[in-house]
């Protein structure tokens, strides 16, 4: 384990070697050191998660429990949002397509935009808020009340028991939730189309999927695995490294949501660029 060298020792060493380590110099360098220290912390955390994911003693029961938690927590919200996306997209796009006499392109257009972008991103952002904050607050409160320390003393590796199952659960469940949102979004679109004009469900579906090919589907699914991993990792990192006071639980939950939402957008941007090159 890496040991921290106390600043008093560094100062004594600096005096001998005539290095300028006065308080002023140190405070101006503090920000710089803090940034690199944080990057180091994140790197070390990621390495520990990866190492423990592939080491023996996988906590399968805890993983199943977390899968249920992630899915169950978000299912209702994802259902409503999925249907609403489909309804809104259809209601907004239909008048323009009617003007151009291209209303029969509506199912395909809505299906492509839901499968490629709206379904995965909206699902990920909802999960960042719902699941990411939950993980951050839960682990943060475990840190504050010394439950994580108690686990370590009981010869249990908290990364293996708490972090790995949560990260794997979000990585697996968010793609499934995104697919579920896609299905409900297309269903919502059919409802909106049916309100404005009489369209059979079979015809709507065949028109919708007639315009969708495998390359619309695959990159969208792949990126949702990354969204899931990002949400799990950020929530766990923020909660696991929460401070000691009760205030830090709120800070951990809040920063988990902000950081994971931002990273979802960044990952999406990268995914879109890569897909564009293919």
């Amino acid at each position: 384990m890496m040991k921290t060298i106390p600043i008093t020792h560094l100062k004594k060493y600096a005096q001998k070697k005539t290095i300028d380590l006065s308080d002023e110099t140190l405070s101006s360098k503090n920000k710089f050191v803090e940034i690199f220290s944080n990057i180091g912390d994140v790197g070390l955390f990621l390495w520990n998660v990866v190492k423990n994911t592939f080491s023996r003693g996988f906590e399968f029961n805890e993983f199943l429990k977390q899968c249920f938690q992630v899915g169950n927590k978000s299912l209702g919200l994802i259902s409503i949002t999925g249907v609403v996306i489909g309804l809104v997209l259809t209601i907004q796009s239909r008048p323009v397509l009617v003007d151009f006499g291209a209303v029969n392109m509506l199912p395909g257009m809505v299906a492509i935009s839901i499968i490629r972008e709206m379904g995965p991103v909206i699902t990920a952002l909802i999960c960042a808020g719902k699941v990411g904050s939950g993980i951050g607050a839960e682990l943060g409160s475990m840190r504050v009340t010394e439950q994580i320390d108690a686990m370590e003393v009981s010869s249990t590796n908290p990364i293996r028991f708490l972090i790995v199952p949560r990260v794997l659960a979000t990585t697996l469940m968010i793609p499934l939730l995104a697919l579920y949102a896609d299905v409900l979004g297309i269903f919502g679109s059919w409802i909106a189309s049916n309100i404005k004009g009489d369209v059979s469900f079979i015809l709507f579906i065949s028109q919708a999927f007639g315009d969708v090919d495998f390359m619309d589907f695959l990159p969208a699914v792949i990126k949702t695995f990354f969204f899931g991993a990002v949400i799990g990792l950020v929530g766990c990192y923020k909660g696991f490294n929460a401070g000691r006071g009760t205030e830090s639980v709120g800070i951990a939950a809040n920063s988990a949501v902000v950081m994971s939402s931002l990273l979802v957008i960044v990952v999406d941007l990268i995914a879109v660029q890569i897909t564009d090159l293919l």
């Binding site: 384990m1 040991k3 921290t4 060298i5 106390p6 600043i7 008093t8 839960e138 409160s141 475990m142 009340t145 010394e146 439950q147 320390d149 108690a150 686990m151 370590e152 003393v153 009981s154 010869s155 249990t156 590796n157």
Partner: protein, 258 residues
């Protein structure tokens, strides 16, 4: 007389030997050159004002915190230089009662007690685990709370359940971090009684961190007083109560007047 006592002490079997321990948090020096020993079967109380490094000291013993300098030897194993697997083996001998109790609040009392058993005593069957949980809860006087959640328990009950979770793996060393903090005098006395019972029944060697003088009077075989991160005084309860030292007197007298 003094020489003879010292000879007897040397002959006692040491369980923990701490030499020149130092711990800093940034520029704050919390422990400065602390050296001490824990002898087999004794209750050693580490006394001192808040912020003198008492909790940091026992967290360094189980390596929840890494010491900056010095050595901690537990049953002949230098705890700061061992790998994760050896550390788990060393920790299996130690029971740690946290100040807050640290019960897992998403688990029932039964699951809380089963958690360390399943990880440390892997050879035990489900029936043996269940029997052990019931027996340990009987020992702390709370057999009826077995299926309750920690949130349904009072502060004193949580402390007892936490104590049960600590002793369930039959540790040979117990570390208590302020066991009576936040409890009423009656419950504090009960916890002190339990600490003595555990010492006798499980033959444990214990370090008890506290600033509760009533608890000190009830459990201490030997006392070490920490002040500003250093060992300020070491001796028996009698030595401390008779001490002319201003700091020791202030501590003991203030508490007596209370």
């Amino acid at each position: 007389m003094k020489e003879e006592t010292e000879k007897q002490a040397r002959e006692k079997e040491t369980v923990i030997i701490i030499n020149n321990l130092e711990k800093h948090f940034g520029s704050l020096e919390v422990l400065k050159d602390v050296s001490m020993k824990l002898y087999k079967g004794e209750n050693l109380v580490v006394l001192g004002k808040s912020g003198t490094g008492k909790s940091v000291l026992i967290k360094c013993i189980v390596r929840l915190l890494d010491a900056d300098a010095g050595t901690i030897d537990i049953d002949g194993v230098e705890i700061n230089s061992i790998r994760a697997k050896e550390l788990d083996n060393a920790r299996a001998k130690i029971g740690f009662l946290f100040q807050s109790g640290a019960l897992y609040d998403s688990m029932t009392v039964r699951e809380n007690l089963a958690f360390p058993l399943k990880r440390i005593k892997k050879e035990m069957t489900e029936e043996q685990i269940d029997l052990k949980i019931k027996e340990t809860l009987e020992n702390v006087g709370l057999p009826e709370v077995i299926d309750k959640m920690p949130s349904e328990l009072s502060g004193g009950m949580r402390k007892r359940v936490s104590l049960a979770r600590t002793i369930i793996v039959d540790p040979s060393i117990m570390l208590y971090d302020e066991p009576t903090t936040g409890l009423d005098p009656v419950t504090s006395d009960e916890i002190s009684g339990l600490i003595n019972d555990i010492q006798k029944k499980y033959k444990t060697s214990s370090i008890i961190i506290t600033h509760d003088i009533e608890c000190v009077r009830s459990v201490a075989n030997r006392i070490i007083m920490l002040h500003q991160g250093k060992v300020y005084m070491e001796g028996s309860l009698e030595d401390f109560e008779k001490s002319e030292d201003e700091m020791v007197q202030a501590f003991f007298k203030t508490k007596k007047n209370n």
